[in-house]
């Protein structure tokens, strides 16, 4: 099949810092170089986009991007914050121009960078459907013919003649997505819109996107942090890092690369982590995991005993505090939670400052899991945190004949419940 979008050597440079201070001078310098027929002097000193290290004031948000997307394909784009995903979509939707390179497209591009763009709070739902539709590039007649469908999809019939400023945020987003979902461009660019709405609406939205690409043969570019929806929608994906494409291929492989890369965080020793949240009055210095045989490990057999030992440091006047440990799977969804106020409401800091959590049976399917913890004063709201870290350690659950049937159990990133089946 032929390509619908072809991106060749695209780069985008941004200038950091205050645009208005001292830049008039730079502008004159540029103009002077241009006048002499030389290259832009500031383009040369651009560098890879790394947010945490200081460098020159000019960075490449995107550097030498090359790829193409075929007809009817849903291409997923994943990467950490700051990898350049949104910049790429901005270039595609013509919001801003690339610094170098070219983007060729076959067909109209419509972008859903953020739903509800151009909604006017004073106008009614009906008026906003027309306005928003037109902003997204629809003709009035097109919107008219799809109006009922849009209203139906949004589920806001009752409020269609109410100004949208009276809408709940959920209704607002649903209405906005409904308009966007009924666009009929050859190429649709979507950024994170599925992160909103309730589960039912998300399902509806994903279904609609699938429809668009498979049923109607249109091309979709989809950016998300939700690996679940990327996995269920996209056959191929791109992994971006610091403005470059580090992997392009089948979605499963790309997601694995991404997750391995991002969970490498946990290899960083606890005392070197700089993303702790909380006042720091009481912090965890180390976390160790022990198996049934009291051996420190990061690999467990399903159903065996697991013991977590937290070594804390700090001083409390009252000695009372709350402690919460959460196990999450690769997709970042929680699979188990252990709250001290539920298990042992009288938890107090002892002299050794050690907390141990004992799980008699680790009932989880074979997969990779991460552990996050929260230490707090008297409630788990972020202003009460003493200390918290997400994904501080990880462990692996191994394949095992859990049901003693002679068969290894299948992988899965959720709980494992013992059962018998009889006939």
């Amino acid at each position: 099949m032929s390509w619908m979008i072809k991106i060749e050597d695209v780069s985008k440079m941004y200038r950091l810092g205050l645009v208005s201070s001292g830049t008039l001078q730079d502008d004159f310098k540029r103009a002077w170089y241009k006048f002499k027929g030389k290259e832009d002097p500031f383009l040369k000193i651009g560098e890879e986009n790394k947010r945490d290290t200081a460098g020159s004031d000019y960075v490449w948000a995107l550097k030498d991007i090359n790829f193409e997307v075929k007809k009817g394909e849903i291409l997923g784009i994943i990467g950490k914050n700051g990898a350049g995903k949104s910049t790429l979509l901005k270039l595609l939707s013509k919001v801003t121009k690339p610094s170098t390179g070219s983007i060729k497209t076959r067909g109209r591009i419509a972008s859903l960078l953020e739903v509800g763009t151009g909604f006017h709070p004073e106008l009614t739902g009906r008026e906003n459907i027309f306005l928003n539709g037109a902003i997204l590039g629809m003709k009035k007649s097109e919107i008219k013919s799809k109006f009922d469908e849009i209203v139906d999809f949004s589920g806001c019939e009752r409020y269609i003649d109410t100004p949208v400023k009276r809408y709940s945020s959920g209704m607002y987003v649903r209405l906005a997505f409904a308009v966007a979902a009924h666009l009929e461009p050859e190429i649709l660019v979507v950024d994170e819109v599925l992160a909103v709405g309730d589960a039912e609406f998300q399902k509806k939205a994903i279904g609609k996107m699938k429809d668009v690409s498979q049923g109607q043969g249109r091309t979709v570019l989809f950016v998300s942090h939700n690996m679940g929806s990327i996995k269920s929608l996209c056959s191929k994906s791109i992994l971006m890092k610091n403005g470059t494409i580090t992997k392009y291929g089948k979605t499963d492989e790309v997601i694995n690369t991404y997750l391995n890369d991002s969970s490498s965080n946990s290899i960083v020793p606890l005392n070197e982590r700089d993303d702790r949240k909380g006042s720091g009055k009481l912090i965890a210095e180390s976390i160790k995991l022990y198996n049934s045989n009291n051996i420190e490990t990061s690999e467990f057999i399903p159903g065996e005993r697991m013991k977590l030992i937290f070594k804390l440091n700090g001083n409390l006047e009252s000695g009372k505090f709350l402690f919460n440990v959460i196990f999450t799977n690769n997709f970042g969804s929680a699979v188990a939670m252990f709250r001290s106020d539920e298990i042992n409401p009288n938890l107090e800091l002892n002299t050794e400052k050690i907390i141990s959590i004992e799980i008699p049976k680790l009932n989880l399917r074979p997969e990779h899991y991460n552990i996050s913890y929260y230490i707090a004063n008297n409630s788990f709201s972020s202003e009460n945190f003493y200390d918290s870290l997400e994904n501080c350690v990880s462990f692996e659950v191994l394949n095992f004949d859990y049901f003693k049937s002679g068969k290894m159990i299948k992988n899965g990133n959720f709980g494992l419940i013992n059962a018998n089946i009889h006939s």
């Binding site: 032929s2 941004y14 200038r15 645009v19 208005s20 008039l24 901005k90 270039l91 595609l92 939707s93 013509k94 919001v95 801003t96 121009k97 690339p98 610094s99 170098t100 390179g101 070219s102 983007i103 060729k104 497209t105 076959r106 067909g107 109209r108 591009i109 972008s111 960078l113 953020e114 763009t117 151009g118 006017h120 004073e122 106008l123 008026e127 027309f130 306005l131 037109a134 902003i135 997204l136 590039g137 629809m138 003709k139 009035k140 100004p163 050859e186």
Partner: protein, 285 residues
Amino acid sequence: MNEKEDLHEIITPKKHLFDVNLKEIWNYKDLLFLFVRRDFVAVYKQTILGPLWFFIQPIFTTLIFTVVFGRLASIPTDGLPPVLFYMIGITCWNYFAECLIKTSNTFILNSNIFGKVYFPRLVLPISIVISSILKFGIQFVLFISFLIYYYIQGADIQPNIFILLLPFLLLLMAGLGLGFGIFISSLTTKYRDFQFLIAFGVQLFMYATPIVYPLSLAKEKLGSYSWIAVANPMTSIIEAMKYAFLGHGELNWYYLAYSTLFMMVLLFIGVVTFNKVEQTFMDTV
């Protein structure tokens, strides 16, 4: 498949300076009219007096001008009833000023829409010019009712055939306002100084235009410097309006031709800069 033939678009770093896609703007005419509608509907929502505000503003300004400039300063009005003399000037000036001020904010006010989705950016300032015509129309009707009242009372006014020039004069004012406005909005994306300049610049500009005084007075008092008053492209338009509707004023074809040329050059410069800025303004706004 032939690669050239079905290629819809190529996005490259730089567009040609004069590559203004008018056809694209035409394709977005539905959006244009929805913006006009939005401006009109949304402005006076949640106000008690609603569209009455359209009338209140010119009436009170006329009243103040009549007292301050007519009575206190005794500036002559070419022998015309002061109310009509000021009102026609104010109505026309309001239209020009509104086009200018509102379009001069285009990029900054709409940066959140512009940052999310593409449509020809010129649609927005054009929609402002059109929705301002509606407001002008309403205020003009007010002026016409006063005109009829004074006519019946037997005041010395002679509306004449040149009132047919109205659409052309309106176009000139729209073009001037739009041209100035989009030129300034292109500059404000980077240097906000122009925002402050506009705020009092428009006010000063009004006193350089024969609104509270007739051109004949300016010519008489300024003597050899009277070209300053004539160099203002709004002067000939206001004077032509006064002549057409009230019968006093200076309808000078040379001046009007000058204003037309001025408008065309200004609009051209405005559109070219706007076109250049719209490509990357999201990075600097």
